[in-house]
Symmetry: C2
Subunit: 627 residues, 2 copies
């Protein structure tokens, strides 16, 4: 590409990220109990009062919701992306393990890059010290959990998962009206405690991706007994995109609800782009280190070596990457299983490793050096995201021998990682028709011992390029229901191009829908609170509240404005769909108020009320519309 | 509204509808066997050849797909919406029943409207003769089916359902590679015969909505043993929209795949709008007659009478409406069951009837005069769509006593309609979390005796106004899989405003996805053909074919152009997501070609091929990317 480094610098000088509150929301922070220094973010959606027909007011409580948007939505925080976010975690009570600070990068590449004058202007200048476990120690959350230690991160995520709903449960029990879930074996307690978090992490059923070199992180947890999370992919390619755009895409995607972000950059300046992203990211950042390794050998997969890859892992671990996708399950003997597939190998990482394996006729260094990788992971607490290099790229290839053979190998690798107390999640498909989705979850639970499943979609049909956020949300909601812990979003550009900001927003909201639909179906305690609040607002024609309680207040308002732009319409007791004559909700309100005004319970109303109601009705002019 | 009739006339004079082929598609017609005069439409997506590495070409067959876009996508047809579509069905062999032609409308309203000079300029001027069964006879498809008669409509839909795939099954068996479905009791034969259609209609498990006064119709079938269909709602309201816009919305929605269209107009000139729509519609048109009846009494529900409603049914039946939503299941005793709901009654029709019932303290005339309604339906062959007036409007209200009580009553009404040989489908919810969806289908199958289920969504969460096409597509795909025969689309504007053309397109494509995902999951024979063809095109970098085989070729191309606008990129063996270095599909192609070139089967390749492959690989320069 023709972009000169100086262009990039200019881009960073002009760089702006989207800041400011989400409409109708206010940022709040909760403190810890064990660790009072914690500031756990929440977003509170304030509601207006309900006006009853007798003129009295009913106060509607603020609805707290999980918030992964970081300081960018806090109007009290001054954002400077050149300085990065504060190193919050480093101010927390230290956990009892020796950590050493390194004077210079531990990777040859990191050192070379630092010495390279050509990239000096591109660099993020507020470099942090580099930390790692001293003396071959282990700083992983799993390691602490297994030793019975509750870390600040564990209390942080416990409080965060409860979403500040506890006090509402007592004060507004009606908001907690919910259907019984079908959890397929997940067991989500009413209240998440730090002890529960510790236990889930110790047994490998959940992970907190939290590299000790990512002190800007607001920790979050991924596991089937917690809220379903979503990941957004960003990253430039050889073809397009600048560093500034990628930083903004990260900020933009967390604004719309991304719980983690993967930087899949494959173009120039991968190292520098990543530094900018991590220093400004309050959410875990994942990468696929083989992408950068391949750039280092000019795209020649067969020239990849363990030493080069190892150096790349250290380079990225020291920058603060929280989880690595490692395609260590692509074994030599599985590759021919893909030969008769309709769409072969569609994972970039999987195809790179397949190419290497064929060229060398050996198992990949990812597999043969897996224990050494674990040693690196535990020194920084990088989590594994064991990649599904042989995932199906079309319905025809779903659930085939290649896919499940690799999944079983990922299970074996999980055991090895756990032996090292390294956190693991497992990546999943892909393209899968609905009737085959459940088998994917069952295979994963059985063969990977309930390690968190992290799936891409799955897409439930191949025939809708341009709409694959939807083909895949259908599958994502289902697999999330069955037990997947994190859903990797798919944008409308999937298969066609790189997502722009609109696509990122569309993909993120679509996946928040899928994740929330899954939480509801599992019977997550508290999941239905927001639905109930929004539906109450809708029924009471509190339009502003309805917008604010939604996943995308801006779009909801914009759509309402298109038909009824007048400000007065936001207070109207009807909407453009039916107009004032046809408003079913108005009639229903009258019915409810009638029952309430009589002080009757529903049974009495059923038995006695109707005749009287008919009389009232006629007496009051036979017209219950408000005009 | 301030619109004067003359404005409307001008609007109609300028009216234009979207015509022309869908990119890459060619219109074809199949003939009947019993009825050679039939011309059953198909859309054929032509593909380019695959170029193999040895330079030889593989011919890819044209893929025929179900086509509901009507003559508008046939470049050989001259469209004149002022003339309407040809009265095709009236030229088919008459079925053995006495039909009479009426000299003037049978409804008082129809006659008055015809005599009203103020609407003269608004009218559709090529009025058709009005037909009905003579001497109290029955012209319903169910009536013929039960007498063992196969009508032209039955052969038409049988051939249409097979989608012209029969010859491909022999010539290209690989295209039919598909997974075993899970049909939950649906039994879809490999080939649909007219006899099978007749049988399904006779037992009430499928309907062909086909009013004898809608001769422009290309018949289609709705039933769980056929392709899942989708409906698009259009219609003006008191607030917005003109006749010309509504005609274009109908044409536009069938272009994007709507199998039926409901005209839900509630504004002025309902009668004239409907006439324009039906005369130009090749798909069944449904209405909710109570909407127009309410307009006739100036919005005062309690002033509705059976006589007025009866006149409205005749008025609309004589215009050619193919199915009526009738909310006859809203019984007096069910209304108090909604009093403690979070969102009461959200169906317009349901709330109108509830208001009437309360005002009169009587069961509604829809219920008490149900058999007389059946007499009208059978004289024209209008199908019932028994309305779910008490469907839930929020998750909290899903599957409650009110909803299921009404559903059971719809079952009783189904039996009555069937006694009259009148076709019936049953409307369903609404807002339902995923874990409660299956119960809806099961209740319907059991209590409505497998009459086709026709559901709105269901929406699986309430928290995403602006994205309810997606919240509901998740539910629609599932309920379609479980057995729903037709899915009523939801657009992004649901709850917020009236859909514009973009919303109609977005809603229609989203629901085609849900319906197709359901067909695949049920194991519909042939459903996976298009997926397989598209995935093959994708794997072979036949970009144009990939676009054309998709549900929305225009959007797919537009998205591809955004990142790689050059025409050459449409022939590129990589795309913008990964760039040339990272293309997994290329590597996979090489693997497959290797296996094929050796003439080895997959087992041999697995056992012996790898060492040799590694050698080849090195010898060929270790680089298998095409540059």
């Amino acid at each position: 590409m023709a972009t000169r480094p100086t262009d990039m610098v200019n881009t960073m000088q002009d760089a702006a990220v989207t800041c400011g509150p989400i409409p109708g929301s206010h940022k709040r922070y909760l403190g810890g109990v064990r660790f009072p220094e914690l500031r756990i973010p929440l977003r509170e959606i304030r509601q207006s009062d309900s006006r009853k027909r007798d003129g009295s007011l009913e106060v509607n409580p603020a609805i707290p919701v999980y918030d992964c948007s970081g300081p960018y939505t806090d109007p009290d925080v001054v954002i400077d992306i050149h300085a990065g976010l504060p190193a919050m975690r480093w101010q927390w009570s230290p956990t009892d393990t020796a950590i050493e600070s390194r004077p210079e990068p531990g990777s040859a590449y990191g050192r070379a890059r630092l010495a390279d004058v050509r990239t000096a202007d591109l660099r993020f200048h507020h470099r942090r010290e580099i930390r790692r476990a001293a003396n071959g120690g282990n700083v992983s959350q799993m390691h602490y959990a297994r030793r019975g230690i509750i870390t600040p991160e564990m209390e942080f995520v416990a409080i965060r998962e409860n979403q500040g709903l506890e006090h509402l449960r007592a004060s507004h029990p009606a908001l907690f009206r919910a259907h019984r879930g079908e959890s397929f074996g997940a067991q989500i307690p009413d209240t998440i405690t730090p002890e529960f978090v510790r236990d889930e992490i110790a047994r490998g059923r959940a992970i907190i991706p939290a590299n000790i070199n990512h002190p800007e992180l607001e920790p979050m947890i991924i596991g089937r007994n917690f809220l379903v999370k979503i990941n957004a992919n960003i990253g430039n390619s050889a073809v397009t995109s600048s560093i500034a755009e990628e930083v903004e895409k990260m900020v933009w995607s967390i604004r719309w609800g991304a719980d983690t972000v993967m930087d899949l950059s494959t173009g120039r300046h991968i190292h520098e782009t990543r530094e900018w992203i991590i220093r400004n990211s309050p959410v875990p950042i994942g990468t696929v280190p083989i992408y950068q390794a391949l750039e280092k050998v000019d795209g020649k997969a067969e020239d990849l070596t363990w030493d080069l890859f190892r150096d790349t892992l250290i380079e990225q671990a020291e920058q603060g990457v929280d989880y690595f996708t490692i395609h260590a399950g692509v074994l030599l003997r599985y590759i021919p299983l893909t030969a008769n597939r309709l769409t072969g190998i569609v994972s970039r990482g999987g195809s790179i490793m397949a190419k290497w394996c064929l060229a060398h006729h050996q198992e990949s260094f990812l597999y043969t050096h897996f224990e050494e990788i674990c040693e690196i992971m535990k020194a920084y607490d990088v989590s594994f995201s064991l990649g599904d290099g042989l995932r199906p790229g079309s319905l025809a290839d779903a659930n085939d021998e290649a896919q499940f053979a690799e999944l079983h190998t990922l299970g074996e690798l999980t055991r090895i990682a756990w032996k090292h107390d390294v956190q693991v999640m497992i990546e999943g498909p892909g393209h899968v028709p609905m009737q085959l989705i459940k088998a994917n979850m069952e295979e994963e639970l059985q063969h990977c011992f309930e390690a968190p499943f992290y799936t891409l979609g799955p897409l439930t049909t191949d025939i809708a390029p341009g709409y694959d956020h939807i083909t895949s949300a259908i599958g994502a909601a289902q697999i999330g229901w069955y037990g997947t812990a994190m859903l990797c979003y798919v944008t409308p550009k999937e298969h066609l191009g790189l997502p722009d900001k609109n696509d990122v927003r569309e993909g993120a909201i679509t996946y928040k829908i899928a994740a929330h639909a899954a939480d509801l179906a599992k019977g997550h305690p508290g999941a239905q609170v927001r639905d109930n609040a929004l539906s109450k607002a809708r029924f009471e024609f509190r339009w502003e509240d309805q917008f604010h309680l939604g996943l995308d207040p801006e779009k909801a308002r914009e759509y309402h404005d298109e038909t009824l732009p007048q400000e007065g319409a936001k207070a109207a007791h009807f909407c453009s769909m039916c107009g004032p004559h046809f408003c079913s909700m108005k009639i229903s309100q009258d019915l409810q108020e009638y029952a309430q005004s009589k002080g009757e319970d529903i049974e009495t109303a059923r038995l006695e009320g109707l005749q009287e109601k008919a009389e009232d009705f006629k007496r009051l002019g036979k017209n219950i519309y408000l005009r």
